[in-house]
């Protein structure tokens, strides 16, 4: 049985003058336990909307998402999310941002502290544990947001372009970190990105969405062994293949 099942999900937003935007149209996808799935697609094709529905922050207009057979009705710490925008609580220090979910769960203070240290080390921000978000750079803030989501130990991690604001080097390092975490913790990860390079480096499976209305245009299984060599010829092949698919997905004729 698959872990996360997206069953014929559509989402229609009503605009002011009776207009409607079909953000997602009939999305169906089965995601296995511990699978790493990347979503790519042009801006506005509904990637964020899909993650929000899975997180329980938005309800689908039709269709259903279920986790281990149980339909999703609202937000739950079992499904962690890293938002596209900076979502750190500015009134909390880095450490207290990371422990927010643990605090809500009523975890003892000492355990919270040790968890915070673990995840601070993981994202390399030990020196900033008492800093406030305004003292951090954009990339550092995003790393804290990732640590905050991970510290809550969700079964499914939803990541909406988490590395979009990072420089290439940090980005590569974070990708390796994330893979390590994923291999260690066996989480199911749904990861939105604009970078084909990133998707090919990370994913077991790449889902290509086409815009207006947002549909699944194609899915590709990436069978390269990890760690993947970005400069290797197989990597380049997969990359070229995905880019080609994305191009044809943009064409209306494909749908």
């Amino acid at each position: 049985m698959s872990k996360l099942s997206i069953d014929r999900v559509s989402k229609v937003f009503a605009k002011k003058q009776g207009e409607v935007v079909v953000a997602l149209d009939d999305i169906s996808l089965e995601i296995e336990d511990s699978e790493f799935v990347c979503f790519v697609g042009p801006s506005g094709c509904g990637k964020t909307t899909l993650l929000r529905i899975i997180a329980g922050l938005e309800t689908a207009t039709s269709g259903e998402v279920s986790l281990m057979g149980a339909p999703i009705r609202g937000p739950d710490p079992k499904r962690g999310m890293v938002f596209q925008e900076y979502s750190l609580f500015p009134w909390r220090t880095v450490k207290n941002n990371i422990t927010f979910g643990l605090e809500m769960r009523g975890m003892p203070k000492a355990d919270q502290d040790s968890a915070a240290e673990t995840y601070l080390a993981m994202v390399g921000l030990e020196q900033f544990r008492e800093a406030y978000p305004y003292e951090l750079s954009g990339g550092m803030r995003q790393r804290v947001a990732i640590a905050r989501a991970l510290a809550n130990e969700p079964e499914v991690l939803l990541m909406d372009e988490p590395f979009g604001a990072l420089d290439a080097q940090t980005r590569n390092a974070m990708q390796r970190e994330l893979l390590e975490i994923w291999e260690k913790t066996q989480k199911t990860i749904l990861f939105v990105t604009h970078s084909v390079d990133e998707a090919v480096f990370l994913a077991d499976r790449i889902v290509i969405l086409s815009p207006r209305p947002g549909r699944i245009c194609d899915t590709i299984r990436v069978d390269l062994p990890r760690p993947r060599e970005r400069t290797g010829p197989e990597f380049a092949n997969v990359r070229r293949y995905v880019l080609g698919l994305m191009d044809s997905c943009r064409l209306p004729s494909k749908i």
Binding site: A55, G56, L57, G74, P75, D76, P77, R79, G80, M81, F83, E85, S87, F89, P90, W91, R92, F100, G101, M104, R105, Y132, P133, Y134, E135, R148, A149, N152
Partner: protein, 278 residues
């Protein structure tokens, strides 16, 4: 090469320190100079041009009056009486204004229900409540406190409300995804801290308005003591130097409270906002 760099570095440090020093000197010195200038002009005008204590007491007249009042020992009672009125009023404004503002900002039905009443009552000047203050509470400190309350309540309420309305949705969603789901916990852990800057502004404005209501409140409903009361008593006795003493005391006290409040809020409560544009 390395040596030279160090020398240059040192030179730059010195220049920096010099700049800081002159800057500090200016910031400290200029206010003193301007206050002294006003005092001198005031003294000269009062002493040589107006030449009438009842129209314009001079600086020395006022200082003399202040010393006499200080010796009489009654300033302390006036002071504590005024603070009592103020404390009652502002305390009640916080106790009622903050929870009501929170509820109206967070729950749409509360907003719809309470908003018309608030909007009708808000433009009524606090001093228009004096008759009812007297009828309801008699000539007591509570009556004076009530006037201060009316003045302080609306700024506190309105700013708390605006703060809660303006809580970014992203923060609420981030919290919900992390397991903070009940309205009570969302208010406590997300909305309240996010709205704190706005609430603090409301308290500050409320304190300012309340303080301004104090003089009138004490005139109409106060007992025998209070800075505002004494101001009116001195006026009726044509002791204009004393009037100025009470005016200045009211001004300085109001300023002191504001400074202490701001110091507390910026330094403790809202330290996390240091880097943001206020």
């Amino acid at each position: 090469m390395r040596h030279r760099t160090r020398v240059q570095g040192k030179g730059r440090d010195n220049r920096l320190m010099d700049a800081t020093r002159t800057h500090l000197l200016r910031n400290r010195l200029l206010p003193v100079v301007s206050i002294a200038a006003v005092a001198i002009v005031w003294q000269l005008v009062a002493q040589f041009i107006v030449q009438n204590k009842n129209l314009l007491p001079s600086v020395t007249d006022v200082l003399g009056a202040f010393l006499v009042l200080l010796e009489s020992g009654r300033l302390a009672s006036d002071f504590s009486t005024s603070l009592t009125h103020f404390g009652i009023g502002v305390g009640a404004a916080l106790l009622l204004g903050i929870p009501l503002g929170m509820a109206m900002g967070w729950f749409r039905d509360m907003d719809t229900a309470a908003n018309p009443i608030i909007e009708i009552l808000r433009p009524v000047p606090p001093l228009a409540w004096i008759p009812f203050a007297i009828i309801w509470f008699g000539l007591t400190p509570v009556a004076a406190g009530f006037i201060v309350f009316v003045g302080a309540f609306f700024p506190v309420l309105v700013n708390t409300y605006a703060g809660f309305k303006g809580v970014p949705r992203l923060f609420v969603e981030a919290a919900r995804v992390l397991g903070c789901t009940s309205p009570g916990r969302l208010i406590r852990h997300v909305a309240l801290p996010a709205a704190m800057p706005s609430i603090a502004t409301g308290i500050r404005i409320g304190m300012g308005v309340g303080w301004m209501c104090l003089v009138a409140a004490e005139f109409f409903v106060g007992g025998r003591y209070g800075l505002g009361k004494q101001l009116w008593v001195s006026y009726s006795l044509q002791q204009m130097s004393n009037v100025v003493v009470y005016m200045l005391l009211l001004g300085i006290l109001g300023l002191a409270m504001d400074v202490v409040f701001r110091w507390y809020v910026d330094g403790k409560l809202l330290k996390w906002r240091t880097g943001e544009v206020a």
